[in-house]
Symmetry: C2
Subunit: 462 residues, 2 copies
């Protein structure tokens, strides 16, 4: 009964000429068969929880940063898993990328107080090269930094910018908040700061720091950066505002570092198309994660949904007309080397990609799909909305998601799976992103929705 309004409207608009053609018995029959298959796919997903079981195994390895031993083990695990699934081919693509290590030391402590602050190095940060002992200057944001630029030299800049809670789509808050993680060190170093602290990019209120990438410019000194847990950020702000602490010194010490480039692999499994084997539909996520938590939502969910898409297609006995290729992209988090390599190879080999779907917004309850394509292709995909009624997908709209698949050039449609965003930044890039934070039914509905879209594109083209 969901989506009844939209459904009726679509039937109205499409009338008798589209996929609901009631006056064409052959087409109506085909539609009925498809609808039945899609219901079956959703039932299989929810009942068998293939993807959820796979995610449990993936998470049990631990987190998977590029260059880690665990990532190599998980790559091997997926190669074996895909080989066991009776696919037409399983292969890998190797490339090299950043090899950042958190190290074992990470502390930020006031010299003359017992107050504790929880930090995590921001990914890619240089170490402190021993202990930095200096004062901290708090700024509300970049404008405030500009206003205080003359007071910054030799100090640690603390960006206390809180995640804006008051918007519906939490990804809208990621841009403005993430800017401090990405650009904070560059902009503070320009004025002579020796270190940077950011308030974690987090929508919840706890003391678990959230990591993620930063940027450096070669022309500006590279200074160390760490994220404070939200509670620690609030505490630090209060501490600094107390007159008795105005001259407090802090010790800041981290031994994170970048080592020799690491080799990472895209893991690929595919079912060859029966009619148009040269037309490829990619369904993917990224296999790497940050080095905290278990990378369960980010992006364990995405990779198991990609693998489950192949599983569900086979389980439902569908012989796809076009080639379905699951790609577990390497190194999305700190380099995008896997996505870039895949895109470059595909261009060189002149592979025809008709669609590339990525799931990299967590394994939450399905909401919609974002599509980057021509208006005609978008319209064609939107007309399929009624097929998704029982998966939670309520809309299909123009948009751009999926850092990895966006590296594929000349693809008719770059599609992002968009689940409910409310809880994502509670767990994103943090120790909160563990298997138990994923709900089996939410994850599996995502797998079903992605599979249905994949089958529709395979069946009808774009």
């Amino acid at each position: 009964m969901k989506n009844q309004i939209c459904f009726l409207v679509f039937v109205l608009i499409i009338g008798t000429s589209g996929i609901f053609a009631q006056q064409n018995p052959q087409s109506a029959q085909k539609d009925k068969v498809l609808t039945g298959k899609f219901e079956e796919i959703t039932r299989f997903a929810l009942r068998d929880t293939f993807g959820y079981g796979l995610l449990r195994q993936v998470c049990s390895f631990g987190n998977r940063l590029s260059g880690s031993e665990t990532l190599v083990k998980v790559e091997d695990f997926f190669i074996e898993k895909l080989k066991s699934m009776g696919l037409d081919s399983v292969y890998t693509q190797s490339t090299t990328t950043n090899n950042w290590k958190r190290g074992s030391v990470g502390r930020f402590t006031p010299v003359q107080s017992d107050e504790k602050f929880t930090i995590a190095a921001v990914g890619g940060s240089v170490g402190t090269n021993g202990v930095i002992k200096t004062k901290v200057i708090e700024v509300a944001g970049f404008d405030d930094l500009e206003a205080k630029k003359d007071q910054v030299k030799g100090k640690i800049v603390f960006y206390n910018f809180a995640f804006p809670q008051d918007v519906y789509d939490s990804f809208e808050s990621y841009g403005p908040t993430g800017a401090y993680r990405w650009m904070g060190a560059i902009r503070a170093a320009k004025y002579g700061a020796v270190g940077v602290l950011i308030r974690s990019v987090a929508s919840n209120f706890d003391d678990v720091p959230h990591t993620g990438s930063l940027g450096y410019f070669d022309s500006i000194p590279k200074i160390p950066a760490a994220a404070l847990g939200v509670i620690s950020a609030v505490k630090l702000s209060k501490f600094l505002s107390d007159p008795k602490n105005h001259n407090s010194d802090f010790e800041f010490e981290m031994d994170c570092r970048t080592e020799e480039p690491a080799t990472v692999r895209n893991i690929i499994g595919e079912i060859k198309g029966s009619e148009f084997p040269d037309e490829v539909i990619v369904v993917g996520g990224h296999i790497d994660s940050w080095d905290v938590g278990e990378g369960a939502h980010d992006d364990g969910a995405g990779i198991v949904q990609a693998v489950e898409t192949l599983h569900l297609i086979k389980k439902a006995g569908i012989k796809p007309k076009r080639t379905i290729r699951a790609v577990l992209f390497a190194n999305e988090e700190n380099g995008l080397a896997g996505g870039r390599f895949y895109g470059k190879s595909a261009a060189e080999e002149k592979v025809t990609h008709i669609a590339a779907i990525e799931s990299d917004r967590g394994g939450f309850s399905p909401r919609g799909f974002s599509v980057a394509s021509s208006p005609e292709v978008l319209g064609k995909i939107q007309a399929w909305l009624p097929y998704f009624l029982r998966t939670g997908i309520e809309w299909i709209q123009e948009g751009r998601d999926g850092a990895d698949v966006s590296q594929i050039k000349n693809c008719s449609a770059i599609i992002g799976f968009v689940p409910d965003s409310q809880r994502y930044f509670d767990i994103h890039h943090s120790a909160n992103d563990i298997f138990s934070a994923v709900n089996n039914r939410e994850l599996e509905l995502g797998s079903a929705a992605i599979t249905i879209l994949t089958v529709l594109i395979s069946e009808f083209g774009l």
Copy 2:
């Protein structure tokens, strides 16, 4: 950008004659003002988390079964809270209802094995009156019970019916599974069973038993009933299928009982309508909960959303044209005495209810509203869908929800708030239903959506 398709379609359908009338400057201006107010309401909800903070307080009291001391404390707490909010009136309605006590003993143990099984008495169950020592017979469901009816006498019937996972809307699985909790004791007692065990009505896989009401017929012996945790149910089935256990006896002991009727209160706070004070819009949930967990989603979420609706209307500076009445209904879980009393009083006093909205499906991410009304009224409410774009509400459709508000007769629209259902039966009626299972953003979007709907009805009538 969400709901873009539906939005465009609505604009198309409604054209220039409805609430989007572009050719009527006055109407267009009013629409703009309303849209601004609704955005403000959503921002207030997400940023201030009034309801989430209130829920934290409610949950800190503990659970709130009718007849418990805690419920009385929470009733008093809400009376004081409502009185502090500057409303036009705050009052209560008292009635009496069932007063069931779980007691302190609840065990189900095999006589000749150390195997442990976790149980919780089903609400309303009689006690075992000492220890019942007998055999257990497992049945897959009622059909299987009929097939085995001659083997049931003197035994405990174990209904091992698993929650069907393979449907999108988890409430669809509640009916068939809940039937064993509600009717299991009656149907087994008919064939001479002396006790009943059900597999918990639960969508997840853990060992936390889920309680809830059962039914008894006066004409059939009342036998004790308990719910097994899902893992315990699986374990018991395995235990019973082992040939060496075929003659095992079990001890079943519970001292739950029904005491003298308890007095419970509906708690009511209202803002008087400025133009049509005699037209009442109820927004409600139920204040009681089961006696396990904290009743956070069921229905702490619903009552704080009702109170937050009043808060947000005042905070946004809205003077409602019609009377907005928040009702925290008593005793939904085991008697519906509060809802019945409210409905009866309203009929006697000839109160004109134009709408009654209930939130009793948990504090999860908003999805839609179900409406029981005439087609004309439904159409009017559906035309408001675009106002909900930034709350997650994606559809408004015919349906019936809200046990309490359904007791109100001659109400133009009985409306149920429908959040995402995927996680509800993981926590429902169990020790899993605690404050930390509620997400602040999900809960607050629900408050915003309910407030917007309330304001629209108040502004335009039905």
